[in-house]
């Protein structure tokens, strides 16, 4: 189920957008719930992380879209954001607020669909799935979105996460299958990395999270393409 917010002061535009959303939902069977806000202030003041995708107009009273977006990013740096506007001059700098894309008026269905599909994929990537691993004193829940990479040394696996490093026993290949869909790839015999946390690319290694992880020569080309594919879906 996808939860949307439409932040738009003009009723006519909001209606057109809703129409497109319903059409998409009908065509694909996706369950979508949308909430309307008439201006940026209302939207920000009650923000509670309850949305997956936000459609934001730029030209609005009280608080314009760009400002609202900046305030949004202070609270929530990751939620998918799509502008709805004719002000291309502003929208082009959407990267400043991590906007995925924008739709121009008149809001044609296909313009909407292309960007909406991109947002849906982005949401999918950022689902908070988790897995459990056995550690010394029991089980530990690992949020995949916070997992940088898994390292194998001998018969032990090390899960490097935002919250620290956790040691467990197991085989990397078994995990690889499970995690492949979740955007994890094997860049080297000893490392399974989370594409989401690739921060820098260097000649022979990658900065994943806070550590430099080597990339085997054999796999380099394949890894680069996978990173490119991943990043083409939007940068978080």
């Amino acid at each position: 189920m996808i939860r949307l917010a439409i932040v738009e002061d003009e009723d006519s535009n909001a209606e057109i957008l809703s129409g497109h959303i319903q059409r998409y939902a009908a065509q694909t069977g996706e369950k979508i719930i949308s909430t309307r806000f008439s201006n940026g202030v209302d939207f920000i003041s009650d923000y509670s992380f309850s949305f997956d995708i936000i459609f934001m107009d730029i030209k609005m009273p009280y608080m314009d879209g760009m400002t609202a977006a900046k305030k949004l990013r202070e609270i929530d740096p990751e939620v998918a954001l799509i502008f709805v506007t004719n002000l291309k001059q502003y929208a082009i700098h959407g990267y400043e607020v991590n906007a995925l894309d924008y739709i121009v008026k008149p809001l044609s269905y296909y313009d909407f669909e292309m960007k909406f599909v991109k947002a849906l994929r982005y949401v999918n990537e950022h689902q908070s799935t988790s897995t459990f691993i056995d550690i010394e004193d029991g089980k530990k829940k690992i949020l995949l979105s916070k997992l940088y990479y898994i390292e194998v040394r001998g018969r032990k696996l090390y899960f490097h996460t935002e919250e620290g490093c956790f040691e467990t026993r197991g085989q990397l290949s078994a995990l690889e299958e499970q995690l492949r869909e979740k955007r994890f790839i094997r860049c080297d015999n000893s490392y399974l990395i989370n594409l989401r946390h690739v921060m820098e690319i260097h000649k022979n290694d990658l900065l994943v999270g806070e550590d430099l992880i080597p990339v085997s020569r054999r796999k380099k080309a394949e890894v680069m393409v996978k990173i490119a594919e991943y990043l083409s879906g939007g940068i978080s």
Partner: protein
């Protein structure tokens, strides 16, 4: 007479002919830094056998001794020449050295075949005349080889390194075999024209293979085409910068016009205003991405969006493109957008003509993505779509051009046709600030 005889004998000696063959590549070789030392070495190599003979066998006839001792050890001389060649010129790799050394051996050997055949056609010639004939053959043959193979050879060590790595060992082995066989037949069999002609043909074929006469042309042609396209784009780029400058000047003028409006009568204002409106609408098409080249390119393409009713949206952090040369920015985005335009312009449903461009960065990674709908059955060849346009050879270069630029800056390309939407992504690592 004696001097002439000496000169002819000199030129007819195996080791000198070999040196001459090696020097046919003079346009492609660089002398070692100790220029005079190199020349001295070459001179010594040529002269030494004769000095040797003069010192130790002053009374004997030259043509008896030279061919006798020195002349029999062909391999030794070839090696000696190799050593001299190596020390006289600069070769960056062994492969490069062999690339010039092996054909030198083969060319001299061809001369030997021709000379032997000539000697049997006219067996009665006196020594000096035979040498004279050999000299003539040398000049003729070396000239022909030069025209056919050498003078059009690209300069620089880069050329020899693009050859297939199996090439050098192959021609080395071939030369070795032909040589060995030739020495053996001369020692063990009576002369036959056939054997020497076959030998000559073998040499010619080996040279053809070695210089890749047939394979290089296609690659060269492709390269020429890409360079031509790049150049054409550079010229367009210059024109466009001029256009942008003109527009900037115009908008500057507009500012003053607007200011002076305040002092006009109402009717004057009305007509001035409508003029202004038109001018400003035109300017509104330009977008500012913080990268001038990209701005120019996007401005140019704005005519295509209008013409084909394409809905184009763009989020671009142009400042991240400064590591790229303007021609490359122009070419990369130009080709990527042209591909998108080509794809959407034939879609019947105008609403579906949507093209989206994104230029964003994360960490030190720059990501450029162009997305658009497509309705043709794209065929893929090696990961890249084969153009459906008739002029395949020319248009397929759009993608190849992008590939070339990606490679140039250490970038990666990803193409994802998914559910009717085509996504081209080019990713570059940015320079790290240390």
């Amino acid at each position: 007479m004696k001097a002439l005889e000496l000169i002819l004998m000199f030129s007819g000696s195996f080791h000198v002919q070999l040196a001459a063959a090696g020097l046919l590549f003079w346009r492609h070789l660089k002398l070692r830094s100790g220029r005079w030392a190199a020349l001295g070495l070459m001179g010594a190599y040529c002269a030494l056998p004769f000095l040797f003979q003069l010192l130790y066998f002053p009374s004997a006839q030259a043509q008896d001794v030279i061919p006798g001792i020195w002349g029999q050890s062909y391999y030794l001389i070839a090696v000696a020449f190799g050593v001299v060649y190596w020390f006289c010129f600069q070769f960056s790799t062994l492969q490069e050295f062999l690339f010039y050394y092996i054909p030198a051996i083969i060319i001299q050997h061809s001369l030997y075949d021709l000379s032997s055949i000539a000697d049997h056609v006219w067996p009665a010639l006196p020594g000096w005349a035979a040498n004279g004939l050999h000299l003539l053959l040398l000049l003729l043959l070396y000239l022909i080889v030069d025209i056919l193979f050498i003078w059009r050879l690209p300069k620089g060590s880069g050329f020899s390194s693009i050859q297939n790595s199996y090439l050098i060992p192959f021609t080395f082995f071939a030369a070795f075999l032909v040589y060995g066989l030739s020495v053996w037949t001369r020692a063990n069999e009576t002369f036959t024209y056939g054997a020497y002609l076959f030998d000559l043909i073998c040499c010619a074929l080996t040279l053809v293979v070695h210089f890749g006469k047939f394979t290089q042309s296609k690659l060269e042609r492709e390269k020429e085409l890409i360079l031509q396209i790049l150049q054409g784009e550079q010229e367009k780029h210059q024109l466009s910068t001029q256009t942008i400058e003109m527009i900037n000047r115009k908008s500057h003028d507009l500012k003053y016009q607007i200011a002076s409006l305040k002092n006009m009568s109402q009717s004057e204002q009305l007509s001035s205003l409508s003029q202004l409106e038109n001018a400003v609408n035109f300017y509104d098409n330009t977008v500012k991405t913080n990268n001038e080249t990209l701005d120019v390119l996007l401005y140019e393409r704005s005519f295509a969006w209008e013409k084909y009713h394409i809905n184009f949206t763009c989020i671009a952090d142009g400042s991240k493109l400064n590591f790229m040369m303007p021609e490359d920015i122009y070419s990369l985005f130009g080709n990527a957008l042209d591909n998108a335009i080509e794809s959407v312009q034939t879609i019947d449903d105008i609403e579906k003509r949507v093209v989206s461009l994104s230029v964003t960065a994360k960490g030190n990674i720059l990501v450029i993505t162009v997305s658009n709908y497509y309705n043709q059955d794209l065929r893929f060849d090696g990961g890249f779509p084969v153009t459906t346009k008739q002029d395949k050879e020319y248009h397929g270069f759009g993608i190849k051009s992008i590939q070339y630029i990606a490679q140039k800056y250490g970038g990666t390309i990803s193409i994802q046709p998914q559910d009717g939407i085509f996504k081209l992504t080019v990713m570059f690592p940015l320079e790290q600030e240390s």
